[in-house]
């Protein structure tokens, strides 16, 4: 990516989460693009809260799955099929 990336390229980088791993110059160009393009900037914010929402959903109840009763049932069934 030599010059300013297109909206298509920016959205691809954001959705693939390759942005953080990109070379410094490419990251700087993406930031510049986002500062100037309200559509890509909206897209970037949406990617941000989609990630946060998934993380919240997947880590919400870490104790919910701490079910000794299920573990004991599995042990019993594997010992005496």
């Amino acid at each position: 990516m030599m010059g300013m990336p297109s909206c298509r390229e920016v959205t691809r980088m954001l959705a693939e989460e390759e942005f953080q791993k990109a070379p410094r110059r490419a990251r700087w160009m993406v930031r510049l693009h986002l500062a100037m393009c309200r559509h890509c900037s909206r897209f970037a914010r949406q990617m941000g809260f989609i990630s946060r929402a998934l993380k919240t959903a997947l880590t919400r109840h870490p104790t919910e799955f701490n079910r000794p009763d299920i573990a004991e049932r599995i042990i019993a069934r594997l010992k005496h099929p």
């Binding site: 959705a15 929402a53 998934l54 799955f65 594997l78």
Partner: protein
């Protein structure tokens, strides 16, 4: 919490020592149940899936050489078992290529937006948006849900996620890209409908 990844404990398991199997099951059942739920299975199915995973692991114990983390190895078995179940239930995975094609239509030949994104814009993730995204996540494929579970809940590296899913890094990127595009499109659709 004690971990099973030490050689002594693995040896105890391989020698069928008393209590080794129980320890393995007690320690890893919560993570396997969580993975089953994240893949969209009911509690009963997640329990059965976890049991089949332990059973398969114990049957082929000699094959586990301890190169990968035991938990990641178990996730791999669970993921493959889940894929078998889906095949039996004739629930084939959609490759979601159409999502990408549809998204491409939003850009003109120069790569600029021709149909700009709509939908929520505010920075705060409120309860309504959270619920909407979770509802949209139901539409993701099992591999996409598994990848997000391993990444977000288990903090696994891209390399480990590729091992569990049996895909290359390039495939994983495409899979995640399509998942996020699909979630965003779903979010936009439902957000517009609601307002």
């Amino acid at each position: 919490m004690a971990h099973f990844d030490t050689e002594t404990e693995l040896a105890a398991l391989k020698q069928r020592q008393n209590g080794a199997m129980e320890k393995l099951i007690r320690e890893h059942t919560p993570a396997l149940l969580a993975a089953g739920f994240a893949m969209g299975f009911s509690q009963a199915d997640a329990e059965e899936l976890a049991q089949e995973t332990f059973s398969a692991f114990l049957e082929a114990l000699e094959r586990f050489e301890g190169h990968s983390q035991l938990k990641t190895y178990l996730f791999g078995i669970l993921y493959n078992k889940a894929a078998d179940w889906r095949r039996k239930r004739r629930k084939e995975e959609s490759l979601d290529a159409s999502v990408e094609e549809e998204f491409e239509k939003r850009f003109n030949a120069a790569g600029m937006w021709s149909a700009p994104p709509k939908g929520p814009e505010e920075l705060a993730l409120n309860a309504e948006m959270q619920a909407l995204i979770e509802q949209c996540a139901q539409g993701l494929s099992a591999s996409q849900r598994t990848a997000f579970f391993l990444k977000e809940a288990e903090g696994e590296s891209a390399e480990e996620i590729c091992n569990v899913l049996g895909v290359s890094y390039t495939n994983l990127r495409v899979l995640m890209y399509r998942a996020r595009i699909k979630l965003r499109e779903c979010l936009e659709r439902n957000w517009e409908k609601r307002s």
